[in-house]
């Protein structure tokens, strides 16, 4: 994504000096840094709002509101975005809902990164039949209809945050495994792996000291994109009533609840939708920025 600042001149034959040279370089560096720090700051802000602000700020609880307070309009005193039909503060619900979404996303991606990353790196490193078996099993998981699994987990274990994490991990693990495997295969071809082994370095050490550091950047950027995807998927599960059960808020179940009053009070759909959107785009931009920085495809 890093591209020259000047408007493209075909053939590059342009004797015109475009501004002082140093300034061009500095501006470019600033912008390159900005493509990471701006979304990173946004992500931090979202985390701070969802996890820290409710602890220290004047945020009413997201549930158990009084019916007397129901359906207050936005910007009512003490209720930034008003209240819902049961009198709960919408701003608070947004924050707590975000907390649930982010917790699920973090859990799912952590499991995917660790389990999937290890599986994929192992499969790619050893190759042969073990690789084939692992990849076929993961193929089955990928082809397995997400919905059946989500329903199964929701009905068998009851809907809830932890169970949403389990359900979504079934998809993050194979996804991370594939990425890790592909990256490992690429690293494996490098001569520095051969060089390490000819130096007498053992397999475990090679895997830990040579392979892992070289595939972690790729897995990290994927995890950031994965955060965005998972937040959306968690929303979808909750939307279908398979994720976090009401009255506890999640952006997904808030959107689902808002669907009923879409024509009269669109804010109950639009507010959690906007929160979802901002969160996802922050993660996407951060992942994209890091990917450009680390020079991967």
């Amino acid at each position: 994504m890093a591209a020259p600042t000047e408007v493209a001149v075909p053939g590059g034959l342009e004797p015109v000096v475009v501004g002082p040279e140093v300034a061009v370089g500095r501006f470019r560096r600033l912008r390159a840094a900005g493509s990471i720090w701006v979304p990173a700051g946004l992500v931090l802000l979202i985390f701070a709002l969802c996890f820290v602000w409710p602890l220290i700020g004047p945020v009413p609880p997201p549930t158990g509101g009084s019916i007397l307070n129901s359906n207050l309009p936005s910007f009512s005193p003490g209720h930034l975005f008003g209240t819902d039909a049961t009198g709960n503060d919408e701003w608070s619900r947004l924050l707590y809902g975000g907390r649930a979404s982010l917790e699920v996303a973090l859990g799912v991606n952590a499991i995917g990164l660790i389990v999937g990353g290890l599986l994929g790196a192992f499969a790619g490193y050893v190759g042969g039949w073990r690789d084939s078996v692992i990849m076929r099993v993961l193929d089955v998981l990928i082809a397995f209809p997400s919905l059946v699994l989500a329903v199964a987990i929701a009905e068998r274990l009851g809907p809830g945050e932890l169970h949403a994490i389990w359900a979504l991990s079934f998809f993050s693990v194979p996804a991370f495994a594939r990425i890790a495997r592909a990256a490992t295969l690429r690293v494996r071809e490098q001569n520095y792996i051969v060089a390490a082994q000819l130096s007498g370095t053992g397999h475990l050490r090679t895997l830990l000291r040579h392979v892992s550091p070289n595939i972690i950047p790729q897995l990290t950027t994927f995890a950031l994109l994965g955060m965005g995807i998972t937040v959306v998927l968690e929303g979808a599960l909750s939307f279908l009533g398979l994720g976090i059960p009401p009255p506890a808020p999640s952006w997904g179940n808030m959107i689902a609840a808002g669907q009923g009053v879409l024509s009269s009070q669109p804010k109950f759909v639009l507010l959690p939708s906007a929160a979802l959107f901002i969160t996802v785009i922050a993660f996407n931009l951060l992942g994209e920025g890091l990917r450009a920085r680390w020079g991967e495809r």
């Binding site: 994504m1 591209a3 020259p4 600042t5 408007v7 493209a8 075909p10 053939g11 076929r136 099993v137 193929d139 089955v140 990928i142 082809a143 397995f144 209809p145 997400s146 919905l147 059946v148 699994l149 329903v151 199964a152 009905e155 068998r156 965005g228 959306v232 929303g235 979808a236 939307f239 279908l240 959107i255 808002g258 669907q259 879409l262 024509s263 669109p266 759909v269 639009l270 939708s273 979802l276 959107f277 996802v280 785009i281 996407n284 931009l285 994209e288 495809r297």
Partner: protein, 345 residues
């Protein structure tokens, strides 16, 4: 003093395995055979896993059919009638046997044959997906070409920023926003329902446009970004582009004739892989817009523990995903002359 026998050892005529090799059929057939075998294993795994998972859910079809007020005796009676009392492996065996003989069984809920249910639902989903693909590719390719023509130009910046935004909108959110504006506020489009194309094509498209756009937007943005990145990379890094420029070939011809042809492979693979995730997306979109498609059917079948219908649907999903990947590979070989099954590069 002949110092060593170093070079004087007889050179063996090893490895002269002539071309009279065992020819086991054309390379393409070999390739298809391999892929088919892998596909069968995967499909078997998926259907078996689904079977096991469904049978471990609380309540069975009999219970779901009869409702909460049914007595255990009634449930047992119906279970026996539906064959649900047999052991799991037996029932899976029966299902497999049916599959081999060309029958997907009957719905436990309605008694309809699964084949006929699929036949009525699949076209709706197919049309939705096809429509979404047409929209996404139809817009993504020109956007990517225009953006790649002048990297870092105004169009490039704007389209890439917008596409990043589009990529970040969840399809169900987009669906609701579309409904709010176009159905509720403007009242241009129907919010719910479905008209078969056989009755009225224009009505059909009118009902389908919002669901299709809901699915297509993220894809569109994704494809546009992917193709644009690939094109820019080709134009910047590939030596054959420099050759074409050195020949005096114009910029548009270089993009269309040289870069696009080589960039399109990546896109094709991704499109095929997307088909799998797209099937998942249809469930929620069909639910929102009340489309009688396969996703909708699947959701209700799971809820009523209608194992044959779920299995049939899962199987169809699986087959589509496998086929899509296979077609992607074949297209790849058709477009890229370097990939020929069974020939070394």
């Amino acid at each position: 003093m002949s110092s060593s026998a170093s070079a004087s050892l007889p050179a063996p005529v090893a490895g002269r395995a002539g071309p009279l090799a065992r020819v086991t059929g054309s390379p393409l057939l070999q390739f298809l055979g391999r892929r088919l075998l892998a596909a069968i294993v995967v499909l078997w795994g998926v259907t078996f896993l689904t079977f096991v998972v469904l049978n471990h859910l609380p309540g069975n079809a009999a219970q779901q059919l009869l409702g909460i007020n049914a007595t255990p005796a009634e449930i047992h009676q119906l279970s026996v009638k539906l064959g649900l009392d047999k052991p799991l492996l037996t029932r899976y065996g029966e299902w497999l046997h049916g599959l081999v003989t060309g029958s997907l069984g009957h719905s436990l809920a309605s008694g309809q044959s699964v084949t006929s249910i699929l036949a009525s639902d699949l076209p709706v989903t197919f049309e939705l997906i096809a429509f979404a693909f047409v929209i996404s590719l139809g817009f993504a390719v020109p956007i990517a070409l225009l953006a790649a023509r002048r990297p870092a130009g105004i169009f490039d910046r704007a389209s890439m920023l917008l596409s990043m935004a589009g990529l970040s909108i969840a399809n169900y959110v987009l669906a609701l926003v579309l409904v709010y504006f176009f159905a509720v506020k403007l009242n241009w489009l129907p919010a719910l329902g479905w008209v078969p194309p056989s009755r009225s094509l224009s009505q059909n498209l009118k009902y389908l446009i919002m669901p299709a756009v809901s699915i297509a937007l993220a894809l569109l943005c994704f494809y546009a970004r992917l193709l644009r990145a690939d094109l820019v990379e080709q134009l910047r890094d590939e030596d054959y582009v420099t050759t074409a420029r050195a020949k005096g070939v114009g910029p548009w011809r270089i993009i269309l004739r040289h870069a696009l042809r080589n960039s399109v492979f990546g896109l094709i693979t991704v499109v095929a892989l997307n088909l799998g995730t797209l099937l998942g997306a249809t469930v929620i979109i069909e639910q929102i817009f009340g489309l009688p498609g396969i996703g909708h059917e699947l959701l209700s079948a799971i809820n009523s523990r209608d194992v044959p219908v779920v299995e049939g649907t899962v199987l169809v999903f699986g087959v589509i995903v496998v086929l899509a990947n296979l077609i992607a590979d074949l297209l790849y070989s058709a477009l890229d002359p370097r990939v020929k099954y069974g020939s070394a590069n």
